[in-house]
């Protein structure tokens, strides 16, 4: 997947988690949690959805890598390159 495709997947997952989430105007470098009012339980859903869709195992220690949209893309790019 390209960086843009990964970004779209993340936005789609967030939209799916939060029916009111406004994903259009997200700042890519700011923490998603602050911008979307998500908590750690919601955050786990991003991890679980990636596991379900791509059989991607993200260890708990790596969760901070998913903090912002930009860091998500950076973290996932090498892991989803063959998808």
């Amino acid at each position: 997947m390209t960086r843009d495709e990964i970004k779209d997947v993340i936005l789609e997952i967030i939209q799916d988690i939060d029916e009111d989430g406004e994903v259009e105007n997200l700042n890519a470098d700011e923490p998603l949690r602050d911008q979307l009012d998500l908590d750690s339980m919601d955050f786990l859903d991003i991890v679980m959805e990636l596991r379900k869709r791509y059989q991607l195992q993200i260890p708990e220690g790596d969760y901070p890598e998913l903090a912002s949209l930009a860091s998500c893309v950076n973290y996932l790019e090498p892991r989803l390159k063959d998808v």
Binding site: D16, I17, D18, E19, L38, D39, M41, D42, M48, E60
Partner: protein, 464 residues
């Protein structure tokens, strides 16, 4: 042999929530329910063409859909259910009623209670406001040892009557301990009842259970009814298979038990002898009397509130009575009294009192029926002193005792709020067995469901 990633024992609200959570992310999951319908403590049955609810007086933790961080809305997101499509009816107003005409009313707007405290206890209002601030900031889900809520409230409020009046509804709706309450439990309940408040889902509990079951099945989850568990086959300190009463064995990667810790210990016990469960058997059980009354009688009695929590005993003590029932204290609930509910041809009056399991258990079948009648009558006499006489107008009446509760919920001793020893972590001596539900410290319908969700998140999603 049938084989599942996870087997959940109990199709009550914590089991359904855990099942939905697992099925949502593609796990192969099976719920085993002993009875013919789901819901556990919060279920329903039919009598004379009426659908009657069990358990539910009201749901706690009311929050409008916009409050994203509220427990109710977090729960809906976790289950991938639309909160906006979930229609709710908020309570009208409820009252805590004590001797000497002391009465405090509250609603889902904290300002009503604040005003009532200022009126009845003007010297304590500043301390009450500080308590509310403290509770607002407090995280009760940190794993702390048991601390006395009474001692802490003595320090914080310095007013015996006020603290007992605040404790009473919170104890009646969720305290497994006699005489006192864990301070963290008090905070959980204070937030759920006074800061968030009571509501009902539109429709009845069957509609709510059908919503959850339909969602669970649509996600690929399976449920079997009339499938009581007999025991676990254990290999290397792990549950290897779940053995049903029918003799069938089901292989399980992980097991979540929602039937209470005493019953779970029985499943784990070896064939050589029963498990030691005494310490985990709660003593607080209840009797509930459902009365159906004609609608026109509504105006003849005090029936403009949603719930009345009354206590006429001096000194106040939340405990298992020596007699079969203590009618000097109880909860009077009008399930039709929520905002925007259309009045029907009949209305319901549900009354709950603390009751003694051992006494009810000791009755022979005929005596049991007589005692149910006798205590329902005494209850009506006492409740009549508060809301006005209704005894002769009852169209239909049904009574649940502690033994009824034990039979239908599996809770040892009919202790609906579970074991006095709480297993906050949800772990057990078996590596792949977890517990969820009332024995974990979460309370009410929203609490039970969050417990199921939290245990799945913590022990299955993060560990796998």
């Amino acid at each position: 042999m049938a084989s599942y990633d996870q087997v959940i024992i109990g199709g009550g609200l914590s089991g359904l929530a855990a099942g939905i959570r697992l099925a949502r992310f593609g796990y192969k999951v099976l719920i085993l329910e002993k009875h013919a319908i789901a819901g556990g403590l919060n279920s329903y049955y039919y009598r004379q063409g009426r659908l009657l609810e069990t358990g539910l007086h009201a749901m706690t933790n009311y929050a409008p859909p916009v409050s994203k961080s509220a427990p109710l809305n977090r729960l809906f997101r976790q289950l991938k259910l639309s909160r906006k499509k979930f229609l709710t009816h908020q309570q009208l107003r409820s009252t805590i009623y004590f001797p000497d005409g002391h009465a405090l009313s509250f609603s889902n707007d904290l300002e009503l209670l604040r005003g009532e405290v200022a009126r009845l206890f003007p010297g304590s209002i500043n301390r009450f406001n500080s308590l509310v601030e403290l509770i607002d900031r407090y995280d009760p889900f940190v794993n702390r040892p048991w601390r006395s809520a009474k001692d802490r409230l003595h320090e914080l409020l310095d007013n015996e009557r006020l603290l007992n009046m605040l404790l009473w509804p919170l104890m009646m709706y969720g305290n497994c301990n006699e005489h006192d309450m864990d301070f963290d439990q008090f905070v959980i309940m204070f937030q759920a009842v006074f800061l968030e408040g009571f509501f009902r889902p539109a429709g009845n509990i069957k509609d709510f259970l059908d919503l959850l079951l339909g969602h669970y099945r649509a996600l690929g989850g399976e449920i079997r009814f009339r499938a009581p568990v007999k025991h676990f086959a254990i290999v290397d300190k792990q549950v290897n298979t779940v053995v049903l009463e029918s003799g069938e064995e089901i292989a399980a990667g992980q097991v979540i038990s929602t039937v209470g810790y005493p019953a779970t210990l029985q499943f784990m016990a070896s064939e050589s002898g029963p498990a030691e469960t005494a310490g985990y058997r709660g003593r607080m059980s209840f009797i509930e009397i459902i009365n159906i009354l004609p609608s026109e009688y509504r105006k003849k009695i005090r029936s403009d509130e949603t719930i009345i929590f009354y206590n006429l005993d001096e000194p106040f003590d939340y405990c298992c009575p020596d007699e079969a029932v203590n009618v000097n204290c109880g909860v009077i609930c009008f399930p039709d009294n929520f905002h925007d509910l259309a009045p029907g041809a009949e209305f319901q009056l549900r009354v709950t009192h603390p009751a003694n399991y051992q006494v009810w258990k000791s009755y022979a079948p005929e005596e049991y029926a007589t005692m149910k009648k006798l205590w329902a009558d005494r209850s009506a006499g006492k409740v009549g002193e508060i809301i006005g006489n209704y005894r002769e107008k009852v169209l239909y009446q049904d009574v649940f005792t502690p033994t009824t509760i034990e039979k239908f919920t599996g809770k040892a001793n009919g202790a609906i709020y579970g074991s006095p020893i709480k297993l906050k972590e949800g772990t057990t001596p078996l590596a792949n067995l977890f517990v969820a539900g009332t024995d974990q410290g979460y309370l009410g319908i929203v609490g039970a469901m969050l417990s199921g969700v939290t245990m799945v998140n913590k022990h299955i999603f993060k560990e796998n």
